[in-house]
Amino acid sequence: MLEVAKGNGQILRAYGLECNGSSLPAGQVGGDFFEFIPWNERTVFTVIGDVMGKGFQAARLMETIRQILRECIGINPHPLEVVRQLNKLGGYELQKYGSFATLCLLCYDGIARRLTCVNAGHHPPLLLSHGQVKAAECRGVALGLLEDYLGSGIEEFFLAAGDTVVLYTDGVVEACSPGGHRYGLERLKEVVRLQHGVDVDKIKKNILFDLDTFTHGVSQKDDVTLVVLKVTEKAGDKDGD
């Protein structure tokens, strides 16, 4: 397993996956976060989220949510139970400060190549397979807004070598051009569609480059967080996994 954390970026190579993510804050520290959480010899969790607001409080709540997330995975690692429990425990912390958080949790089983997705008010992940892009359909209410988590449940995908998953925060699709037009989901999907056969680091750079081209480098209101996962092989097919 190779895990590298550098600045606002993180890389993971394990479980037959290559994972690469980074978070670019807009102005003061924001509430965007992502993390790869290796769980056991075949399972890794990936989470992306956005805590309401900016500044010290958002950053502190974000750290609290990440810590509680790990505890919830330890109690019961079923992804839906993780989000339900996180909404209870983390939701309580968020409500104390009149806040909420969006979150998308992925659980990847590298042996079965099964990707399980649960969503709490976050943009659903994009899946690129054989040059076709689709958005996951799982939906749910953001953490901290309701006493009990309410959502469409888990969504599962069986992935093949070369399949790619892209997670992002609203700072990507809501970024604006100088003329006030939104970057939008359709443009993101089109850029992702063109990344068939490209490695994860380059995919991430290509998306960020296209975003920068669209916005003409104008500073944006929201953080931009982008995470790319790509299936390279079945976990255990090669030494080092």
């Binding site: 607001g53 909420f100 969006t102 008010g121 943009h123 953001a142 209101k221």
Partner: protein
Amino acid sequence: MEIRIYQKEGMAVLELEGEMDFSNVEQFQQEIQRRPEEVVEVDLQGLRFIDSSGVGMLLSQARYLHRQGRTLRFVRIPGLIREDLELIGFFRVLEALETNSHA
């Protein structure tokens, strides 16, 4: 962000123009809390952008008025902003507020 306030059929109407974000949510929150009417309507037609702080404030104010037996209503929501609010679960929370006092 510009806020225009007027009365219509006994309720207060707050029309928003511009962008609502972390830097100006308190201004709008104060305007809502200043209103004595039983129903306060927020007209979002002129809203071009809302961040998570804005969404959180609108929901907290909907709860605040609900606890007082009053109503905060959102009308003329632009399409893209409606999509953003739907994704977060904004309307599910408002529905829950109507049926469940714990929402």
